[in-house]
Amino acid sequence: MSRLIVAFFLLMAGGSAPMAQQAAPPKPAQPAAQKPADKQPAPPKEAGSLKFAIIGDSGTGSSAQYAVAKQLIEARSRFPYEFVLMMGDNLYSGSGEKDYRKKFEEPYKPILDAGIKFYAALGNHDNSNERMYKQFNMNGERFYTFKPKPGVRIFALDSNYMDRTQIEWLEKELSASGSDWKVMFFHHPLYSSGETHGSDDKLREQLEPLFLKHGVDVVFAGHEHFYERLKPQKGIYYFISGGAGKLRKGDISKTELTAKAYDTGYHFMLIELAKNSVNFETINQDGKVIDSGALPRFSDADKKKMATSTPTIGPR
């Protein structure tokens, strides 16, 4: 039986990352999953879990985007994700028919043909009418929410234009979301160690109080053309995944925010929301696992404690 389990984890690791023990749940307010990337377990495919993938800043139509897309497509055979979240900048430099084709439909064709849904958020390079494109599943709206399975609620925000209408909508939707896993995704990161952009302080002033009040669990963003897993901030896990088509080499200035950073290659992410943890694997354009781990879901009581703790805020 144990051999079977070992074989299973080896398969999950894609042969590129040595199998390791699952990370022990960290104490509240402590950085989670601190082991080196090559010691991390791959997402374990827990029965009944929700599996999805993340791509950010993908829409260049470049060979790099296609290389990442190829890995994303291949990953599905060992990790059957149900949908893909797009962090924005889905179509750079235009939104004509050719742009949709070259920067979205062609690179992801096999998974689109397999019926895998993509859910997009808008980035600063996107035409807001991308919300009308059915394959982005935005229902014609700049911001929206969906429930992929009982117990999980996902919110897509338009961080380019955080007006009062959107904030009021978010507050209402969060209030109604009960004890579900609450996953946010949008373009601009609230916390970042990027030199070019850095943390979006103004956006954080607006959103973080709502996230804390309503117990948001995980936040994904793009905009920065690299990968960064941040230390949990006030009981919320933050990831930046903005390198599925663009790369800003050497842009990360590692700060006290950083749990893991990667800015030397393109990447995408695989996510599993299990009953009590968020498991992740980040893979580069060559199929190499550059980060992975299992982060325990914080209890409401822990979140409350951490919400009032001093945040770790890096320089902008």
């Binding site: 028919e97 807001s128 229902n139 009062r164 902008r316």
Partner: protein
């Protein structure tokens, strides 16, 4: 006693919780901002007519249809606004108030930085012309949006350099703009 209690309660409400629209309706600039609102509403009605007169922009799997609908809408709006010049909404009086509303926000370091990031590289633009499709849109920080009157759905504020643009997001059209909106 009751009046005193009401006054005290009103004073206890932090400024940030005052509904955005109410904040403007009760300000000394209410008349000018009311004029702005009326001009925007007039545009909105015009767009509605343009929207109703042809197949509307709606969800589609066909990207070409989306683009065609966007362009068709822009053309119909343009035809209905022939001869409209800069200042049709941002009159000199309205522009003066907007500059004053924006100044404190635009002075903040983070806001300044955010508004200058990813700014569109556009040589020229005009009223009734398209917002440059190949360029990024300036991210509007929440504090800047809260400093300005709210807009109807799919009409938005953007910056091109120091110019504040009023943009129709459905038609990707520049409705109007004001110069030197921020220092």
């Amino acid at each position: 006693m009751l009046r005193l209690a009401i006054v005290m309660l009103a004073l206890a409400v932090p400024a940030s919780t005052v509904p955005a629209q109410e904040k403007f309706e009760n300000s000394p600039d209410a008349r000018v901002l009311g004029d702005f609102k009326a001009r925007v509403e007039k545009y909105e009605q015009l767009r509605k007519k343009a929207d109703d007169s042809a197949p509307p922009l709606k969800e589609s799997k066909d990207a070409a249809k989306i683009k065609d609908a966007q362009q068709g809408l822009a053309e119909r709006i343009g035809a209905a606004r022939v001869g409209v010049k800069q200042g049709v909404i941002f009159t000199p009086e309205i522009a003066t108030v907007f500059r004053r509303l924006l100044r404190p926000e635009a002075k903040e370091k983070e806001t300044k930085q955010a508004l200058q990031e990813d700014k569109p590289e556009v040589a020229s633009f005009k009223v009734n012309g398209p917002y440059p499709d190949k360029e990024p849109v300036t991210t509007m920080t929440p504090n800047v949006l809260q400093a300005l009157p709210a807009l109807p759905k799919d009409i938005e504020y953007r910056f091109i350099r120091k110019n504040l643009i009023l943009r129709d997001a459905r038609a990707n059209l520049i409705i109007d703009y004001m110069t030197n909106a921020i220092p």
